[in-house]
Amino acid sequence: MALKGNLRDFTTAQLLNLVNLARKTGVLTVNGREKATISFDQGKLVYAETDALRGDLGQVLYRAGKLSKKQAALIDEKLKGQSDRHLGHRLIKSKMISQADILESIRQHILNVVYGLFSWADGTFDFQANPEPASSRIRIPIELDTIIVEGSRRLSESERLNDELPDLNIRLQFVPRPENRLGKMNLTSDEWRIINYISPKNTIKKIAEANQLSDFEVRRTIYGLIEAGLIEPIRQIEEPKYTSRRQVSPQNRKPEASAADKRGVVNRLIDRIRSL
């Protein structure tokens, strides 16, 4: 089964949310400005690289300022073909670098790649299930909830946000048990202020006014909170705009069928369709 598409039709936040909620394991390849490869294990981000931000350990440590250009080139030349895990062990053993520095450098590298992806508005993507994604790399499991919120903070495309959240008169509510997700996230003071106003009584417009936020700012923050699964829009039933020609005045209207009658009709329909 495929998971293919184009970033024109989905935001990066939506894609990551899908991987997160479906607890997917595999590799997402995006061909946009360049090629990006992002690996996930059980819904957690574990590795990422692009053509420009190569993911081999020597390059990652060089970009983090932990190795000199000469050292990185030497590693590339002498230890080509070895796994990053093996290289990491050798670097720690030779006391060139600590384990903590290696892990933090990789973590920062992964985050840089994925946050960069949030600004891609175009590019085909393809997710392939793979039981051992990025097996040659040192994998750092990172929860996606925080990344989705932070990535949405960096969204700069108001057009796309308008498309995703067109109506500022909708009201919002918390999803059931939001505390399970809130505990894992680092929210900004603006996000906490908005969360204080989440109530079926308040429209997004009202929340923006109360917090003195522009339409763009409130859209961006609320979009991130929705995609991270903290809040959701409340759906409302509209009054019908059209009146049927068959509609009759209340006094001439036939009495509503009882629930038992309706159930009888539905059961007859079920029997008929089964028999087809």
Partner: protein, 179 residues
């Protein structure tokens, strides 16, 4: 004679006409026109008002299936078609992710017309490019209580299964209303 109706909706080219055609006992009454817009020329004709199919239950009861036109410019028809419906099917072409956002909007629009039960049918599941129903559930932001079923709209058994599941949901909805 009592007539009840169900609506089959979904984005342009989701397979609504084929869905109704697979189960209707009459040839589907189509209101198709040749497509002239270059952006929509992935098929030759499209529904402009509605499709209409029928399943006779017995001499007292008949089920009408209405297929909505897929393009936004015909959405004035949607509310008229949705009036008095027993439930609705949102048909999504699982192989065309570029239509998922539109499917979500259509779904939200129909939900705003009436709080009747509905079901999402992930069509074209016989294609290797099809997204899985579980992935569609997440991307369409569907509540866990909403059924998302695999579907092949040219296969009668598959269409039967979707309609039966919708009817089971309608039964549950009636029971909930009573209790």
């Amino acid at each position: 004679m009592q007539a009840v109706k169900m609506v089959v909706t979904g984005p342009f080219s989701a397979g609504k006409t084929a869905f109704i055609g697979s189960i209707s006992e009459i040839d589907v009454v189509k209101t198709e026109r040749r497509i002239t817009a270059p952006s929509e020329q992935i098929k030759e004709t499209t529904t402009v008002a509605m499709d209409f199919g029928r399943i006779t239950v017995d001499e007292d009861l008949v089920l009408y299936l209405f297929g909505t036109p897929g393009q936004r410019r015909f959405d004035f028809m949607w509310e008229i078609l949705s009036e008095g419906m027993l439930g609705f099917v949102v048909l999504v072409d699982s192989t065309r992710p570029e239509t998922f956002r539109e499917a979500r909007r259509i779904l939200e629009t129909f939900q705003s017309y009436a709080s009747t039960p509905f079901i999402v049918a992930a069509n074209k599941q016989d294609s290797e490019d099809a997204w899985q129903p579980d992935d569609l559930r997440i991307i369409l932001k569907l509540d866990p209580s909403v059924k998302v079923l695999p579907c092949v709209s040219i296969d009668r058994e598959s269409v039967k299964n979707v309609l039966l599941e919708l009817l089971y949901s309608i039964l549950e909805h009636l029971e909930d209303e009573e209790s």
